[in-house]
């Protein structure tokens, strides 16, 4: 298997090398060389990943193995932090997706970043980003996962704030980093707690636990003392919190739409492959562990489901093209999350949801990436994100138009496009899990998805041009930017059909320690219902925005709208709440109080001490008035003083 190991190393190291070389040497010298180098390296990485996947899946019934496993830091006993490369269907799939997407995005960036002087830095950071994600994907243990988890966070920070002269971009990047960091602090706490209870970081150990071993021991958590089994449940929830923030689940979702301030390639890579799916991946990776921790999965399901609907509703009203896509991502992530959660059926677990979720990660990556790239090229033409300025682009950009249509059909779950298969499985899982509320929500949301995606589609590509540039016809399709879009359209179209088989064959979350439900009846009617809803939503969108009697202008201006629309349009005022909390409570409240305590109480005590000593000094000098009789008096007084206080045995 030596070839595997070399492949594995090359997958991880090529992006790293790109980062180092571009960051230190090529970066600020010549951007073009950097770009080419980045594209080549990422292409090679993708090739390696593909080869690895081929080798891996080509042998019958592939096992989970780790290609290499180095000791990083030894802690007590079995508690050893390792850096390894875990190979199982899930990670291999992710490797392929990540390398492919970053390859595409790198190609795209050649065009997108052509004018930018700092392009070299951009390519460096992009490679760092994919490197961190790859490291996260192949992690063999929580510690390594956390290491790359943080790296993902920081590289996203650097990329979102890439145009650091734009205050909005800077604050967006800060917000993204701090919110995810906030979630990560709980993740870290979870890691420490779980590793303390279990005595290991390794996924293999965690995934083969059973709570009964821990019910007898107890652990002191400061305020409360709980049994170790409860501690594990707590730990699992804490760990999930990390994914909660990273995958921007409600209410920690607000950083994701704001992250649109970054360059579009970044948004596309964040949303499709690297950052946000990390949370879902974490849950998928630790699924057996979550499965034994009752309630954890239920929580995950509800968080996912709520985010799904919530984001979809907001997406229907937005006008910023990238924000619409961002909210659609949130909604899709909600799908993946709740699919994982929905595996829990009372006391037993069915793994169909798991398969569906991972499948959706796979398919979603392609069409979402291509959608963002398309948005990017649109913005490149009209120099704004606003749908107001678009319209009528379809005639000018034929290729793009077609690819967009494919991706949008895919995301709306219209067969035979890829989205249909994965989303269908997810909804099915919800149905089989007898989570009928969530099931209903999922159907409703799929309708919403179709609606807002086609709203975007019609407003951008159909109707009359609303932009001078477009009217004047200064619109062309940049080759470097169109090529990846076209390439991505292929998997967006086919990955569903081809992938279904592989996923249903290989994708199971390993051995579970809970009773597992195998036989589940397949609801034959479900696909038709889903598609029906999608089609209805499509028609509504067409009627509202593209039909001859659509009033596009009225549809676009958000003034003189009903209250509900306003609230939704302002994203339920969540940003405002967030800023209020941070400014008033954190900075204005705690921080100010802390500083006041320091500046007034501590410094005050110090000042008082100094003042007191000086006052004593004044007393001493007061006696020194130069008055001789007083001095003589002190002699006499001194005698008496020591006579009485000298403790002499008189």
């Amino acid at each position: 298997m030596i070839s595997d190991i070399t492949l594995g190393y090359s997958i991880l190291l090529l992006p790293l090398i790109t980062f180092v070389v571009n960051g230190l040497f090529l970066g600020n010298k010549c951007a073009k060389a950097a770009a080419i180098f980045a594209v080549v390296c990422n292409g090679l990485a993708f090739a390696a990943a593909g080869a690895l996947a081929f080798i891996y899946f080509s042998d019958f019934a592939p096992q989970a193995t780790s290609l290499f496993d180095h000791t990083f830091i030894p802690f007590v006993g079995g508690l050893v932090a390792r850096i390894g490369m875990l190979i199982d269907p899930l990670s291999v799939m992710m490797l392929v997706v990540v390398t492919f997407i970053s390859f595409m995005v790198n190609i795209y960036s050649i065009g997108y970043m052509r004018e930018d002087r700092a392009a070299g830095r951009f390519f460096a950071l992009l490679s760092l980003f994919s490197f961190s994600m790859l490291g996260l994907v192949v992690a063999t243990n929580l510690f390594q996962m956390f290491i790359f988890w943080e790296l993902v966070g920081v590289s996203s920070y650097l990329l979102i704030g890439f145009w650091y002269h734009k205050p909005s971009a800077v604050s967006a990047s800060k917000q993204a980093f701090i919110l995810t960091r906030f979630a990560d602090s709980f993740f870290l706490l979870g890691i420490v707690l779980v590793s303390y209870v279990v005595g290991s970081f390794d996924f293999s150990t965690l995934n083969s636990l059973s709570l009964v071993d821990f019910q007898k021991q107890f652990i002191n958590l400061g305020l409360v003392t709980i049994s170790k089994s409860e501690a594990l449940v707590l730990g699992s929830i804490l760990i999930f919190t990390g994914g909660w923030g990273k995958s921007a689940m409600f209410p920690m979702h607000i950083w994701l739409p704001n992250a649109m301030e970054g360059p579009t390639p970044v948004s596309s890579i964040i949303h499709s492959a690297t950052m946000v799916v990390a949370g879902v991946y974490l849950v998928a990776r630790l699924f057996p562990f979550f499965a034994i921790c009752d309630n954890a999965l239920t929580l995950i399901m509800w968080v996912g489901a709520f985010t799904m609907v919530f984001a979809a509703v907001i997406a229907c009203t937005q006008k910023d093209i990238k924000r619409i896509l961002a909210y659609s991502t949130l909604s899709q992530l909600g799908y993946m999350m709740f699919a994982l959660g929905a595996c829990k059926i009372g006391l037993v677990v069915a793994v169909t949801g798991w398969t569906a979720s991972t499948f959706h990660i796979f398919t979603h990556a392609f069409f979402k990436c291509s959608l963002f790239l398309i948005a990017g090229s649109l913005i490149h033409q009209v120099h704004t994100n606003d749908l107001d300025a678009m319209g009528g682009l379809g005639k000018k950009m034929k290729l793009t138009y077609v690819c967009t249509l494919i991706s949008i059909l895919a995301i709306s779950g219209i067969p035979p496009f890829s989205g249909f298969f994965s989303k269908d499985e997810i909804i099915l899982a919800a149905f089989q899990g007898q989570h009928y509320v969530v099931f209903g929500l999922a159907l409703f949301t799929s309708g919403l998805t179709t609606f807002y995606m086609f709203r975007l589609f019609f407003l951008a590509f159909h109707g009359e041009p609303r932009h001078e540039g477009v009217k004047a016809g200064h619109v062309h399709e940049d080759f470097a930017m169109t090529l990846p879009i076209v390439i991505l359209a292929i998997p967006a179209l086919l990955s569903g059909v081809l992938g279904k088989g592989i996923f249903e064959e290989f994708f199971v979350p390993g051995q579970l320690n809970v009773p597992q439900l195998m036989k589940l009846e397949h609801a034959e009617w479900l696909p038709f219902v889903a598609v029906g809803i999608a089609v209805i939503a499509l028609v509504i969108a067409w009627v509202l925005y593209a039909s001859p009697w659509a009033k596009v202008q009225r549809a676009l201006d958000e003034t003189n709208r009903s209250g509900i629309y306003k609230i939704v349009y302002h994203k339920f005022y969540f940003d405002e709440m967030y800023y209020a909390v941070v400014r008033q409570f954190i900075f204005g409240g705690i921080a100010r109080a802390a500083r006041a305590f320091n500046d007034y109480v501590i410094e005050g005590l110090l000042a008082f001490t100094v003042w007191f000593v000086h006052k004593l000094g004044d007393l001493v000098r007061l006696a020194q008035a130069g008055y001789l009789p007083f001095y003589l008096g002190t002699l006499i007084v001194g005698v008496l003083l020591w006579r009485f206080f000298g403790q002499l045995p008189l």
Partner: protein, 503 residues
Amino acid sequence: MNTILFNSIWVIPLLTVLACVMIPATYAKTIRTIHVTSATIVLAIVCYLTYVVYALSGTPTNPAAAPLALRFFTDIPWLSMFKANYIVGADGLNMLLLALTAFIVWAGVLVSLNIKGNQKIFFALIQLLATSVYGVYMSFDLVLFFVFYEMEALCMYLMIACYGSGKRDYGGKKLTLTLAFGSSMILATLFGLFFESGATSWNLIEIAKTNLPMDFQMWAFPLMFMGFAVSSSLFPFHFWSPDGHSAAPTAVSMLAAGVMMKMGAYGCLRVAMFLMPEAAKIWLPYVVALLIFNVVLGPFIAIRHKDLKYITAYSSISHLGLIFLGLAALTPIGLRGASLQMISHGFLTGLFFATIGMIYERTHTRDITEMGGIMRKMPFLGVGFVLAGFAGLGLPGFSGFIAESTIFIGAFQQDSTLTRIVTILAILSITTTAVYILQTANRMLHGPLPQKYESLTDGCFREKLVIVVLVACLLFIGVCPGWISEILDQSIAPIFEKINNIP
């Protein structure tokens, strides 16, 4: 041979000072050259010896120093009246701290080559300070230890008050007097230690073999621990460090925060906890309560500050709080984490203050609200600062993450209620750290560039060299922490044994 080299670590700086006494102050260039050379030589020696210690690890050490695993052990009679001897030696812990010191001193000399005022005296003082720090780390005789420990007071005030900025006299006095207060507590307890233990010399190892009466330990330990903790700015004795750092010139801030503040923590571990383990076991779980200020409130205070050096000072306060968390955990991992944090934070804060100093030299302000967008004008320094920030908020790949995670895991092993609570709070407060670091970096480096900064220039070669070297150290520890933990464990084991073997 190595032993001679080892002893020369603290002698060379003194010789440098003596050599420069002869040269008139007008030959500033010659003096600078001499100092840079000597600092480099010491750096080379220390690195070599560190390598030797690492290479020899596992081989038997000097039996005279058992149970401590010391190399280059030297024991010469010194002051006959109270049987103080000149005893020095090196185990992994203090060797690494010496290496840290050598790096910071070297960097400090380099960054302050263009300092205003009488350079002859300034560099002499820096070398004296270096001597004192080297001495503290290598000496195993309590008198010698204290002599070196107290020496810094002599240099600090002059350096801050004469070469500093802002409220330099106030800052210098505050720093010097607070440290003197701490060391006076230490001195008082040292006498107690000597006479109560009935030892025939001030040899740390010998005193460690005697068993001190419990009632004595009960009052002596807190005194001594707090005495040491003062110089590591443990609450409530942290107040000297923000004013002191902000008033001090760059090199002094680097040395003070980088290595001098570690002397306290080192003393807590090496002297207080090693000699009085019983009392340590009883007291430390309560000492942890003080860390709520250092670790949890410190970052919040940093958020409210606008002055770069104040922000960094409070970040140091919080990071040093983590050291004490590790110590108070009283587990091998905790102690290792604490020592790792000493070293890591040394490099980290050195880099911080170095970059801040360089930026201050150009912008002539440290108020982040007045700056902005200077990343465009000085990308190198900006990147240096950002990297320091990332290391500070415990980003994997830098040493800070290794140290902090080790401390957290180690502290979590300690099952006492208070420690648990504080550990949990500490883990959760990594967010606050991120907040003030990013806020600072963004305000200062990003955003639009004010008109007045159009003419700024990026770092010159020596400044870049300093930044590169320090970042390299941070990355080196961060990427391959295995070997360093290995060395540390060997030197911590005896200390932990002593604490652990209490009946």
